[in-house]
Amino acid sequence: MLAEILQSLPQVLVDGIALGAIYAVIALGYTMVYGILELINFAHGEIFMTGAFIGVAMLILMTGMGWLAAMPAILALILVLVVTSILTGFMGVGIERMAYRPLRNSPKLITLISAIGVSFLLQDLVRFITEYKRGNYILTGPSMFNEQFSIKFSSISSSFSDAFFKTSTMILIIAVVIMMIGLDFFVNKTKWGMAMRAVAQDRETASLMSINVNKVISLTFFIGSALGGATGVLFAVQYGTIDPYIGFILGLKAFTAAVLGGIGNIRGAMAGGLMLGILEMFAAANLQLLTGGIFGAEYKDVFAFAILIVVLIFKPEGLFGKAVTEKV
């Protein structure tokens, strides 16, 4: 049994890290907003989904005009990533301005309901537009970065088998790492980052220290949504096909990852996302072996969430959360 698990381990790790990287960046969006407003922004999964649609629409448009063939694919992708993240960033700011700011002083539950409302609105808006334009709400983008690679784990030790992956997986992981390092640097080393941490610690005191709280909150939403939108594009390139409902399950899992890492903690969200992705992939590949065929791959979520519960029982503040700590 152990030999078989070891055999498939390289592949599980590669797939798990790719999926976990996506969870991690979306989890960042949840955790940043929670850190600063103590609001669970349930619309974040939908911002990710909208980003995916904007990205694919741009790629399709560029293919139609022949631009995609004219420039290197990686340049086109960077262009799409930048434009999409700016658009979704402003969308996040707009949502905050319209749906959350007027409710900032009302009970937390009200804002939460407002967030759920925004999430449904976005879902159906995107579905409506796509269906109206294409006649079908399932959208398939042009296929890019499809070259296949394999890492020869078998040459290290014969107990491993090779891991297969696509160029897009590589790009996904690299892009996510860049985004995470960038964010970490921004929050910890810049003036604006310091302002964000201050607002997260105590909004009123921060405003007395001449910090423009509204601006900082807008900025937080901008960054979180921009990262979410960019991940959407990467997701669409990686998996090829998207529909307006991808944000729901992914958002839920990313939120879980944020809680696992300690909500409000940026590094925690990164670690939580990766951990959840790898756990899930490991369960899907090996659960049948581990339980002797009683539970199959369909119980992967049960497995992953059972571990989540165990972690939270012993460490209710999450893996990286400290009882009193700086948030964001």
Partner: protein, 399 residues
């Protein structure tokens, strides 16, 4: 497909049935168009979606039925009756289907119905037909529940959903030579049912099932399950589920270097599958209850007749519309003969249709068993050998 939807539909229709039944007991209209000098009029209704998303398919069934009716007109004139087609639009909506069924039931000159396209519409509507004893012959309904209720008036000429799995297994083992099979299903009623039926039949035929795994509808990453496939090295993967997950699964499998054939049910029979999977769709098989009419000489003749008359190309169910109508008229003819030329009662027509034997249609032979399933219904296997929809018919499996 879609047992869940079927249930919803049933609930809705039960409600509307109650309502409509209430209205009708006081109304009870007479079919007064029967008069006139040139013999009595017999109407045959069609009920298919003529508007909305599936209008193309609905229209093609209606036109197929119309063609059969017109070809039989002469024969019935000799018997002293004037045949007329009465098309209804069910809008692929169970509520509309049931409302139309009430109209059909109360029009005494209608002696039969060809329809519907959707099982979800057919199931509640046929409850009404049963009440009024109007015989129905369905050209396209595959849900098991359509005939499993044992209604005397309900017949179908296509295969049942639960035959797709065994047919797929038969083809996979005997034609493709698969010995080690990996089964994946999507945990829905449709997907699990199909996969279970396939698995059972494949095991019986001597194949080894290397794994039986589930995926979640709505997710996009199936790499975990595919890693299992990769390490177990089967020679075929069977997927019980719909095209959205199917397309994604095939695509990711090919990315992982899994080059073996995939097989699925009619849930994979969609152009979107090709769109999602792209070139990966090569070497994917799916089962369908509809035959490719261009494969047989009768089918080709029918296609050219159809084209000439309506200036349209045949759709997958056109010929089934034609055959349904032919069967219905055949039963009607026997019933008229049985009653010495008098207008037969609807029950009588229904009985005669059920008794039909060895009827040779354009795409299928017809003989009903005691619940109205066609004994000669076949399941057809299609294959994608390039990224183009639909696939090419590769084989047919009969019971």
């Amino acid at each position: 497909m879609g047992i869940k939807r079927g249930l919803k539909v049933l609930a809705v229709s039960a409600l509307s049935l109650g309502l409509l039944a209430g209205c009708n007991s006081s109304g009870g209209s007479e079919g007064s168009n029967g008069g006139g000098g040139s013999g009595k009029v017999i109407k045959i209704a069609t009920q298919t979606p003529l508007s909305g998303g599936s209008a193309t398919l609905g229209e093609s069934i209606k036109l197929g039925a119309q063609l059969a009716l017109e070809e039989n007109k002469k024969k019935f004139e000799d018997l002293g009756y004037k045949l007329q087609l009465q098309p209804y639009d069910d809008q692929a909506d169970p509520k509309k289907g049931v409302a139309n069924a009430q109209l059909i039931g109360s029009d005494k000159s209608i002696l039969g119905v060809v329809g519907h396209l959707n099982s979800g519409v057919s199931i509640p509507s046929s409850e009404v037909y049963e009440k009024y004893k109007v015989p129905m012959v369905s050209p396209a309904n595959t849900a098991t529940e359509v005939t499993d209720r044992g209604l005397k008036t309900v017949n179908r000429i296509v295969a049942r959903d639960d035959f797709q799995g065994p047919a797929g297994a038969d083809f996979a083992i005997n034609k493709l030579g698969a010995k080690k099979i990996f089964v994946i299903q999507d945990k829905t009623a449709y997907g699990t049912g199909l996969a279970d039926a396939f698995k059972e039949a494949a095991e019986e035929a001597g194949a080894e099932i290397l794994g039986y795994e589930g995926i979640t509808v709505g997710e996009k990453d199936f790499n975990g399950v595919l890693t299992q496939v990769l390490s177990k090295k089967p020679d075929l993967v069977f997927f019980g589920g719909l095209y959205t997950e199917g397309g994604q699964l095939i695509r990711q499998a090919r990315d992982k270097g899994i080059k073996i054939p995939f097989m699925g049910g009619d849930g994979m029979d969609s152009s979107t599958l090709v769109e999602i999977a792209g070139d990966s769709v090569k070497d994917v098989y799916y089962t369908s209850v509809a035959a490719d009419a261009s494969k047989s000489t009768e089918g080709k003749d029918f296609s050219s007749k159809y084209k000439e008359k309506f200036n349209k190309n045949v759709e997958s169910y056109s010929a089934y519309g034609y055959d349904s109508m032919s069967v219905l008229l055949k039963g009607l003819e026997t019933a008229i003969e049985g009653s010495d030329g008098d207008l037969p009662a609807r029950e009588k027509v229904a009985e005669e249709i059920r008794k039909i034997q060895d009827f040779q249609g354009v795409v299928t032979k017809v003989e009903f068993d005691d619940i109205g399933d066609n004994k000669f219904a076949k399941v057809y296997i299609y294959k994608f050998s390039e990224a183009k929809y639909p696939g090419v018919q590769e084989g047919e499996i009969s019971k």
